[in-house]
Symmetry: C2
Subunit: 402 residues, 2 copies
């Protein structure tokens, strides 16, 4: 199941970047589950990784490689997370980088490994390495959709986003792909997302730009409150296009980057496991951003709110009860107002005088719903995107060993 | 659905306490939904209420009445929570106490009101008051099961627990009833629970005893992380039996009280909405109790862990991922061990060498499962009880407006 229609966008080539995929037989026979992405020598790269304490072997190895060398290849497998695999998992991740490095003529440290799939199973590293030559052989500047498909797990759709801005008369392209559908409550990163641009941006600036854009996109989505062990997001800048070196350039690039990341993050929610609703939670009138996020995530994680959304039931008491248990000190409930779409649901902490079940039900029947919560405490706002909790979510996660 | 067999215990009378129920037509026609419990004049009473900021009108009124007068009657309705009902809700709760006070010949402030059911609907106060004479007429010293049945909402079973200890050669009885099945993550109280003893205990001591016992029982259970607006637990001591006035008496009474409250709390989890599993989470080796509770609740609230439990799938990667995202600073995953029943699942942060799928699956196939998590950081432990996440949980909460 997934919310709304979606087709993979036409993504322009970015000079020097080539993408390829092959079948390693890790996820299922007859499915491309191994992706290689080649970066030109000039590339700078920023990365954000999961803050789950049990981070996976490839996360450790990718961090180490990033410190040691300039990245030339991203190596991504699906079907196996190589997480909870101890020392052998680290050796397996290193081995896969070593093999790709030898085949491509670069140092092993120039390869960044990423894995997604079942936690706790040994990585079938021989099968993975055996499929590398084929992935290299098919590298192509227009392999974006192939790569986006190759990294999926329980996702039902490939996710891509692209935008183009002009800097000093030069076009700058940003292309991103992502995967993710369950175990989604990114903490400082996302499931897996790979973003590319032809702009020239130095390392330190690139890292700041990525961090900020991730905070406003992937870090504002949740399916099930479960932060993955393998979350990773990279931003690679090939440096062959316009140079981003003034505040004005930076702010325009940052806006375009956030736009791409928000589109990918929203695509993950639209394709959330079992999702029948795409829900935008806007919390306003908070004293600071974390307070707004705390309220939004408490509502977004409430199984009772999520099942009411699934049932298209305008059960505002559950929203109110979730707001009331959010970790906000001295919450004055008499100042709280809640809107469901354009319908006033709660005013001054109780049901709005103008509210009718008919009006509420009409909004809830939509597949895309906005809930706006006014706290009446300050001037700060935050937005979080989430999905509902359906029978299919339970079926998918009772059947699938992730 | 509910886990295991259960029958309502034979509960002895406590001198001076009488219980009655009648049909007010609030929940459904032909069902007792109004309960009155009479306390003798000598009674001292301690109470714990929800910390949800949106607490219900009866919670406000009960708090106020407790400060103003000695309680003589508990008045409980199901089918309507009288929460999110604003000023009218307060007037309605007061009105119901006023009417009962007039009928029984006591001050309105001697009546404590409690409500559970749908949030946000006006309390049908006239129907409630009209049914009060009948509830008073049937007051009986052995009405325990009738009262326990009369307070249920989505519960499938009446919940009662009783114990008897001897203090200075005198028998002391503790009887408790409770309701709760969903919107269960009590914060400093439970859904609704009413506990009674014939012991003589002064107010201040009684409040401390209740607070400690609640912290080790109702505050250690969760179904769905949703803290109710109406949670309340009272402990009434009639004072007609043995006096609890030495440290030795107090510690023996405290142990007996905790035993009764744990039995009631566990009964709520066994009867959790859609539950097919009763799960005990023991976290050991924490630096302090809150750290152990944080880890236990993070695992207990994980939808992925809960669906794996429902599927009887020993998916230890999900447990490990949940531990890894718990709010514990500097968690050293290499020290973590996890046991599933008597089977070692995780050692030093990875799959235990001795682990086999057969052994893990055999434990998961049981309806009562213990998961023991060793953090290797200190000497403190905590235990939390929870249920699984099933299709029926979704069905119940997609269909029921609570």
């Amino acid at each position: 199941m997934a919310v709304g229609e979606a087709s993979f966008p036409a993504m322009p080539a970015i000079e020097g970047i080539r993408l390829g995929a092959s079948m390693a037989g890790i996820k299922a026979a007859g499915r491309r589950d191994l992706v290689v992405i080649e970066l030109p020598e000039s590339t700078t790269l920023a990365a954000a990784f999961t803050r789950n304490a049990f981070c996976a072997a490839p996360v450790h190895v990718a961090r180490r490689h990033l410190e040691a060398a300039k990245p030339r290849y991203l190596l991504i497998n699906t079907g196996n997370a190589n997480a909870g695999t101890g020392e052998q998992g680290m050796l397996d991740a290193e081995q896969s980088c070593q093999t790709l490095g030898e085949l491509a003529g670069v140092a092993a440290q120039s390869v960044l490994p990423f894995s997604t799939g079942v936690i706790g199973e040994p990585l079938p590293v021989k099968r993975l390495c055996d499929a590398l030559p084929e992935a290299l052989a098919v590298l192509s500047a227009d392999g974006w959709q192939t790569a986006a498909e190759g990294i999926l797990t329980t996702d039902t759709r490939a996710k891509g986003a692209t935008t183009c801005i002009e800097i000093d008369g030069q076009p700058v392209t940003i292309n991103g792909i992502a995967k993710g559908s369950g175990m989604i409550k990114p903490d400082m990163a996302t499931m897996l997302s790979f973003v590319f641009t032809d702009a020239a941006i130095d390392d330190a600036r690139l890292q700041v730009l990525l961090r900020r854009a991730v905070d406003d996109s992937f870090n504002c989505i949740t399916v099930d409150s479960d932060t993955s062990t393998n979350d990773a997001c990279t931003l690679a800048a090939t440096g062959r296009g316009a140079r981003i070196d003034t505040d004005e350039h930076e702010s325009r690039f940052a806006a375009a980057l956030t736009e791409v990341l928000v589109e990918l993050a929203q695509a993950i929610i639209r394709d959330a496991e079992g999702a029948t609703k795409f829900v935008t939670l806007e919390v306003e009138g908070a004293t600071h951003r974390q307070e707004a996020l705390d309220v939004a995530f408490t509502v977004a994680h409430s199984p009772l709110v999520k099942t009411a959304l699934y049932a298209s039931d305008a059960n505002w008491g559950r929203i109110l009860a979730a707001v009331g248990r959010a970790p906000v000190p001295d919450l004055d409930v008499s100042r709280i107002a809640i809107d469901l779409g354009e319908v006033a649901l709660v005013e001054r902490g109780g049901r709005a005088a103008s509210y009718t079940e008919e009006a509420g039900s009409a909004v809830m029947a939509e597949s895309e719903i906005t809930i706006r919560i006014h706290l009446g405490r300050g001037d700060t706002a935050a937005t979080v995107w989430t999905s509902d909790l359906s029978h299919d979510y339970v079926s998918i996660n009772a059947d699938y060993r992730s």
